[in-house]
């Protein structure tokens, strides 16, 4: 039996090895498909290791396994270490990450077949780096290491959003994603520094032990945990830093599935889950997390209603679902939140990959340019429907159970208003998702070209994910609802009813056209306009960027060049002018100089006479 630490290191090391090979051996990278094969094989190995680890964990005797090496040496022991920390949460998360990475990379081989070989090699190099970083994040044994991988996944996100860097929108979206998440990360790093000053360590195990023993100094801990949570706000696209995620859809669709739906954006939720014993010390921050989560869920759902781009609908639904998870964490239902993270990872990846198949076939993202696709691509239609039902929270799909657990948890946690927001969001989610389903697959409309189901290399991952989404749900349905649904008994019928109402309403509006969408929009015109303008948040940030940051920089640049350096030049110019004046006494006539000599001589004589 291989021990857990070795398995974890293998899962971490394989993609890293692939990345190094692809980065250093240029011919291999430029070979394109060979690079893809290497990357897929490496992450497949990671998946295998993760599965073995998951099945054999926890081993007898220890429910956590920790390995550590000194990273930043200092007098009297390491200032910071790197290592792996495996517990049951990390083991499950590891499987999810490796699984989705593997499937998405496989899918990419088909999706990106038209790319040039060097571009494909670059793509897979980034993907290997991402798999490594994300696994490292999952296995991180301390805050600093988590931050390191946190930033690295952010880098991969930036690079992959900007994969088609020649497209101005992609370039802009990539930079925006980096900046907005970086803004959140400022809080994260401040929090880490403050926490270190407070507790003297970065390590999760040490900190949890201190929290257990009540030896953790609580002064300022609320601020620290709030700052750390800011990192999660940026990464997990919570209000008000969610603006980057919809734009991030400019990247290739598999990237959206992997990074911007299943894994990286969930890192914020994972962070809060990971550090939960610390968050428990600061209930006020938890309440804030719950409120912000619920509000993000609702806000993003309203935004999702008006999007015409299929990927943007999915992006807003991701923001919304991440809000659910955060709300659950804030209410204390940490198990429910993490459970939703896992199921969401599966069905949202499925939805994105399904959308990718549609986009691949039709050549556009605009849902109004699609229609009646179910006949042309039935397989895609079925898997997409599975994902949508799971997302809408319909029994017996995976999403139903996790969403139910969250609603129960939030209700039990006493967050009534957030609960209402989340319940409303259930309705909205079902509505906007089925809006997409009806418009794209069933309603009248005409798609360009001859759409068809994707090849096996893309279909395989789709069916795998669909099977898992349905399978996990059925497992729970048979197994009796999971351990988390402790809420009042009316919650399940309520959420199911709301979801069905949403579906029905969408059917009436977009399939039967019994309700006019235009009329609806007119009824709630202010809200409609606000949603179209994304509640002016993007404009606000754009204004801050252009007005405050660039404006300030212009002022400082001007001051530096024309005032600070101006003073330097002033001194210089005065010196030169003074020299110019003085040089006039150099007439060039020898006799003038002799006058000077004679006068000087006279002075010397007079002076010596008087002394």
């Amino acid at each position: 039996m291989i021990d857990a630490g070795t398995l974890a290191l293998a899962a971490l090391g394989l993609p890293f090895g692939a990345f190094v090979l692809l980065a250093v051996v240029a011919p291999l990278r430029r070979a394109g498909r060979a690079a893809g094969a290497l990357s897929v094989a490496a992450v497949g190995g990671s998946l295998l290791a993760a599965l073995i680890l998951w099945r054999t964990f926890p081993e007898a005797g220890a429910d956590t396994v920790e390995l550590a090496w000194s990273w930043l040496p200092a007098e009297g022991g390491a200032l910071a270490t790197v290592g792996v920390l495996v517990d049951s949460v990390a083991a499950v998360m590891l499987v999810l990450v490796a699984l989705v990475s593997f499937l998405v990379q496989l899918y990419s081989l088909g999706y990106l077949e038209d790319e040039t070989a060097p571009a494909l090699g670059r793509y897979f190099a980034y993907h290997s780096l991402f798999a490594f970083s994300m696994i490292g994040l999952v296995l991180a044994s301390n805050f600093l290491q988590m931050f390191i991988f946190w930033e690295l996944v952010g880098l991969c996100s930036y690079l992959l959003i900007g994969f088609w860097y020649a497209k101005p929108e992609a370039a802009r979206a990539a930079v925006k994603a980096f900046w907005v998440t970086k803004a959140g990360d400022l809080g994260f790093i401040l929090g880490i520094v403050l926490l270190w000053a407070q507790a003297g360590t970065f390590g999760f195990s040490e900190l949890f032990k201190m929290a257990d023993d009540k030896t953790l100094p609580l002064g300022g801990l609320s601020l620290i945990m709030f700052l750390i949570y800011l990192g999660a706000v940026g990464k997990s696209a919570q209000f008000p830093l969610h603006v980057w995620l919809p734009d991030a859809m400019e990247g290739p669709t598999p990237v959206s599935a992997l990074i911007h739906a299943a894994t990286m954006v969930a890192a914020g939720v994972y962070l809060v889950t990971r550090a939960y014993p610390l968050f428990l010390q600061t209930p006020d921050v938890l309440v804030l997390i719950g409120w912000v989560g619920a509000f993000s869920a609702l806000l993003a759902a309203t935004l999702g209603l008006v999007q015409a781009d299929i990927k943007r609908v999915l992006a807003y639904s991701t923001v919304s679902q991440l809000g659910y998870m955060m709300a659950a964490l804030g209410a204390g239902a940490v198990g429910a939140g993490f459970f939703h993270l896992l199921t969401h990872g599966l069905f949202k990846a499925l939805l994105f990959l399904g959308a990718g198949a549609v986009i691949h076939a039709v050549g556009t993202n605009d849902i109004w340019k699609m229609g009646r696709l179910f006949g042309a691509m039935p397989q895609t239609g079925i898997v997409f429907l599975v994902g949508t039902l799971a997302l809408a929270g319909i029994w017996p799909f995976a999403g139903f159970f996790s969403k139910d657990a969250i609603l129960a948890g939030v209700w039990e946690g006493g967050l009534t208003v957030p609960f209402l927001m989340l319940a409303l969001t259930v309705f909205l989610t079902a509505f906007y998702m089925f809006r997409v389903v009806f418009v794209v697959f069933f309603a009248t409309g005409h798609a360009e070209g001859h759409p068809h189901d994707p090849p096996l290399v893309m279909g395989g991952p789709l069916w795998t994910l669909a099977g898992l989404t349905a399978g996990v749900g059925i497992l729970f349905a048979v197994g009796g609802g999971g351990e988390e649904a402790h809420g009042p008994s009316w919650i399940s019928p309520l959420s199911l009813g709301l979801a069905l109402a949403g579906i029905a309403f969408a059917w009436l509006t977009y399939q039967r056209r019994a309700v006019s969408a235009e009329m609806l929009a007119r009824r709630v015109r202010p809200l409609y306009v606000a949603a179209l303008r994304k509640f002016w948040l993007d404009d606000l940030y754009g204004g801050i960027y252009r007005g405050v940051i660039l404006g300030l920089s212009w002022v400082v640049g001007w001051v530096d060049r024309y005032l600070v350096d101006g003073l330097v030049n002033l001194a210089s110019a005065w010196t030169m002018r003074g020299g110019d004046r003085l040089r006039r006494i150099q007439t060039g006539r020898a006799q003038d100089y002799l006058y000077g000599v004679a006068f000087g001589l006279l002075l010397v004589i007079v002076w010596s006479y008087w002394h």
Binding site: R583, I585, Q586, T587, G588, R589, Q591, L594, Y595, A598
Partner: protein
Amino acid sequence: MGLQPYLILAAVLFCIGLFGVLTRRNAIGILLGIELMLNAVNVNLVAIARYAADPAGLVFTLFTISITVAEVAVGLAIVILIFRVRRTVEADHLNLLKG
């Protein structure tokens, strides 16, 4: 006769020479002024040598006279060269050192 009249003679001679050097515009005139100043020095040397009964002063005088001759030769040569180049020996026009 004491030393003083000789020194006064030398001083007067020196001042006349200096005046010539400072005021003459012609390079030859300036050279003559320099000659006068040098001769004032010679007078001083001889007078003091006599007064102190030390022949070293006389030796120096001989030196000075010979060096003066050389100086005049070189000076005149320079003046002639300047005249060839600039077609003038007016001191006011020779201001290449102007800053």
